[in-house]
């Protein structure tokens, strides 16, 4: 009996009006196994997981848990059986304490059992997941919040733990700690169903993988035996042509930033310190760094949401623009795609074509004399959808109805197709699957080739190594001088990202003087 899989899915089918989310999905998860569930955006991973967790009911097929029929009608039933889940967008309540948050995730009987606070501390110390039960969740960092979710799951003593994109918001260090915890759980017999886009993570962590495409299982493999490329090709069902960077002669300086200082207006923000760099035509400058080291502030300063003290701090083609706002900068041929897709890069409740109008610059002017040029805007939005293969019913769909990856493709396309002179993008492929990421990378490279200066702020080092001509690191609000990608290694960058090179650099400066 103990050799029987912990969870077995047989011909699970789920259809939504007009969409088959899952069709005859069958696979099983063994005890103590870390099992990866792979698939592009919209391949049906989320729906499948929701059915296992009892949020959604399958239309057909059956599930066996521990060899017994399993059909949870509610998450509570799933949890009672021993299924825990850590959500991609955390299911936490910011205004409540850690303890209250955890109590809410337990059944009434479990929450009463013994001193909850003591149990939280016990579990968190056992697994190296430090959390303070009395703190408000709103004051915790993203990594700490995830720990709260995991501790909450562990308190129910799960036999199967589902993790939906757990590392997309973590720093490399936090990822390492998380993996240690997961391996330890697996060694204790807990099975883990692990969903992620990051193929390298899956190759180091998981011992088996099931690949979904279009709602169907298209294969399973041992990810340790596969290359990241092989896994990606299984997911998208065609050979993946990774874009390659051509080394050409860089042109004139298009974007120049010098001696930019800026104090953050957020309570926990990072002040920018003497930021100086230049991007030439045809170049892609990658800015690496752990989240929260000034990327947000740098982005705000570059796109004009916060003006710099003197106009000369930021220049496009030699013209001082530090005092100009976002619209004026757009008018000068600068385009930008901020990190936060809904609410910052796009208006959630507006349709795609309306969102296309909002960024109109010289390359895409859809509001002339105060009137909206509906047809031109729609045509442009259609072109973006077609060129970047955005999956949407039509350009009249609201931005919020698109999946994260698809909306990201739309936003990147919207900016890039305007043929900007300078493009600034933060996390251009965050949450986007391998195929779509390759597509975005290709258009970015093409844009640079056509003579634009491109600046990419990203936490994904692979991405930066793939497309950047030069890379520099931001740490504690300070930007290190950039170096050609060929001369860099992940180790070198990692050291700088830890913020230590700054001390070394300043020490060196001191000795030079």
């Amino acid at each position: 009996m103990s050799d029987a899989p912990i969870l077995q899915l047989k011909n699970i089918t789920k259809t939504y009006p007009g969409v088959i989310a899952n069709e005859n999905v069958s696979f099983s998860i063994a005890r103590g196994e870390i099992h990866a569930l792979l698939g592009e955006n919209g391949a049906g991973k989320s729906t499948l997981v929701k059915m296992i967790y009892g949020v959604v009911k399958p239309d057909g097929g059956e599930m066996l848990f521990n060899g017994e029929p399993y059909a949870p009608a509610k998450p509570f039933e799933a949890r009672a059986k021993g299924v825990g889940m850590v959500f991609q967008h955390f299911s936490l309540f910011e205004a409540l304490s850690v303890r209250d948050n955890i109590a809410l995730g337990l059944s009434a009987a479990e929450a009463k059992k013994g001193d909850l606070k003591k149990r939280i501390v016990e579990v968190s110390t056992t697994y190296g997941l430090k959390v303070d039960p009395d703190r408000l969740v709103g004051t915790l960092s993203v990594g700490e919040r995830q720990r709260v979710e995991i501790v909450r799951c562990l308190l129910t003593e799960p036999k199967l733990l589902i993790m939906d994109e757990p590392t997309s918001v973590l720093t490399p260090q936090e990822v390492k700690v998380l993996f240690e915890t997961l391996r330890r759980l697996a060694s204790e017999g807990v099975s883990i169903l692990y969903i992620s886009h990051k193929l390298d993570e899956i190759r180091t962590l998981c011992s088996r993988a099931t690949v979904l495409r279009g709602g169907k299982v298209v294969g399973s493999c041992d990810p340790r035996q596969e290359t990241a490329r092989g896994l990606a090709e299984m997911m998208i069902g065609q050979t993946l042509s990774t874009p390659t960077r051509e080394t050409g002669e860089p042109g004139e300086i298009r974007l120049k930033v010098q001696e930019l200082f800026m104090e953050s207006d957020e309570q926990f923000g990072v002040d920018l310190e003497n930021i100086t760099f230049a991007v030439r035509a045809g170049e892609i400058l990658g800015i690496a760094g752990v989240a929260g080291n000034g990327q947000t502030e740098l982005m705000e300063a570059l796109i004009g949401e916060r003006r710099s003290r003197h106009a000369r701090h930021i220049q496009i083609d030699g013209i001082d623009i530090g005092h100009e706002g976002p619209r004026q900068r757009r008018a000068r041929g600068m385009c930008f795609a901020p990190e936060e897709r809904l609410g910052h890069a796009a208006v959630p409740g507006m349709s795609l074509w309306e969102n296309a109008i909002l960024c109109s610059g010289p390359g895409a002017d859809f509001a002339r004399g105060g009137f909206v040029r509906h047809r031109a805007a729609t045509r442009y939005a259609d072109k973006v959808v077609a060129d970047l293969n955005v999956k949407t019913a039509s350009v009249r769909s609201a931005a919020r109805s698109l999946s994260g990856g698809n909306l990201q493709k739309f936003i990147m396309g919207r900016e890039i197709l305007q043929q900007p002179k300078v493009l600034i993008a933060s996390q251009p492929t965050w949450g986007v699957d391998a195929g779509a990421a390759a597509a975005i990378h290709r258009v970015l490279l093409d844009l640079a080739k056509s003579g634009a200066a491109v600046l990419i702020i990203s936490q994904d080092l692979d991405e930066l190594f793939t497309i950047s001509t030069r890379i520099s690191v931001i740490a504690g609000g300070y930007l290190f001088p950039s170096q050609p990608t060929e001369e860099l290694t992940v180790e070198k960058l990692g050291l700088a990202m830890g913020g230590r090179v700054k001390e070394i650099a300043s020490a060196k400066e001191a000795t030079h003087v």
């Binding site: 949020v55 998450p75 910011e94």
Partner: protein
């Protein structure tokens, strides 16, 4: 001395309808629903309580009828906004207009009727203590009920699991849904309870404060109750304090001449509202605290994405 006693007794009478209505709205808002129809629910409670008491001769029947009418209005609001997903602000305003109109229609036949003075509690010896006796032991039963209700709600929200779930629902309905709590069901209970409380507040007006039916007799108290919830930053005990502060200012204004105050009555009647605005501004200055106190999902429509 008698004047002071009268004023202090009057404060409780003026404050109690506000206590009822705002503690109900507090529960509604804590669950994440903004019901602007408090005025309408109150006035329906007032007419229902008056009519039922007149017909049955029993205050208890009247009070229950008032609460039931308010609850029915609250449930109607729930049906419209929670099941039919209509806009909460617009629906709340409509509920107020609907309640005012319907109560006037029902109330036509009761114009001119009146009820006897609502009895005050009389405990031998204790109530007879001069000054303090009538103040602490000689109020009417509904005053004690309203205070008990506030304490009960405070205990419920902070000490019980059900209260925690209610707060969680108002804080982040998507997360509550993902964990598996019935968001819509919880909110139905909350708006119905809120309606019942508003109905009680209305009943207090037509049974105790002025024991007769007057069209639109709530006279904006529903709106004050709404402001009180924000004023109290969604904390039950502060609602009690706020309601008595308002009650006090109202009574002060009534007695201003007798007290020899040389301030225009109009200015005095503005005071409660000015106080609200000032307090709201002061509270809002501390953005982080405000954010922590206000239910994050207040007024947002919840679509169950399954």
């Amino acid at each position: 001395m008698d004047l002071v006693l009268n004023i202090l007794l009057g404060v409780a009478v003026a404050a109690t309808p506000l206590v009822f209505a705002s503690i109900g709205e507090l529960i509604t808002e804590r669950s994440g629903v903004l019901n602007l129809g408090v005025e309408g629910m109150m006035v329906m409670g007032a007419i229902a309580a008056f009519a039922a008491t007149l017909a049955s001769g029993s205050y208890v029947v009247g009070i229950v009828a008032g609460a039931a009418a308010g609850a029915a209005m609250g449930a109607l609001f729930g049906l419209l906004t929670l099941s039919l997903m209509s806009n909460q602000v617009a629906t709340g305003l409509a509920l107020t207009l609907f309640g005012l109109g319907l109560s006037a229609l029902i109330g036509q036949q009761f114009a001119g009727a009146s009820l006897p003075q609502f009895p005050r509690v009389n405990i031998p010896v204790l109530t007879a203590i001069p000054f303090i006796g009538p103040l602490i032991f000689g109020q009417d039963a509904l005053v004690y009920l309203s205070i008990a209700l506030v304490l009960g709600v405070g205990w419920f929200l902070t000490k019980t699991r059900a209260g925690l779930i209610l707060r969680a629902t108002g804080e982040n309905h998507d997360a509550a849904h993902a964990i598996g709590y019935p968001v819509i069901g919880i909110r139905y209970l909350a708006v119905t309870f809120g309606g019942a409380c508003a109905g009680l507040g209305g009943a207090y007006l037509s049974l105790v404060q002025t024991p007769l039916w007057v069209e639109r007799m709530t006279a904006g108290r529903g709106w004050i109750a709404l402001a009180l919830v924000v004023f109290a930053s969604w904390k039950p005990l502060r609602v009690l304090g706020g309601a008595y502060l308002f009650g006090g200012i109202t009574i002060l204004q009534l007695h201003s001449q007798a007290l020899g105050l040389k301030i225009d009555a109009q200015i005095l009647s503005m005071l409660p509202y000015l106080a609200t605005i000032v307090v709201l501004v002061v509270i809002s200055r501390d953005a982080t605290r405000m954010k922590l106190n206000a239910p994050s999902c207040l007024g947002k429509v919840f679509y169950a994405t399954s």
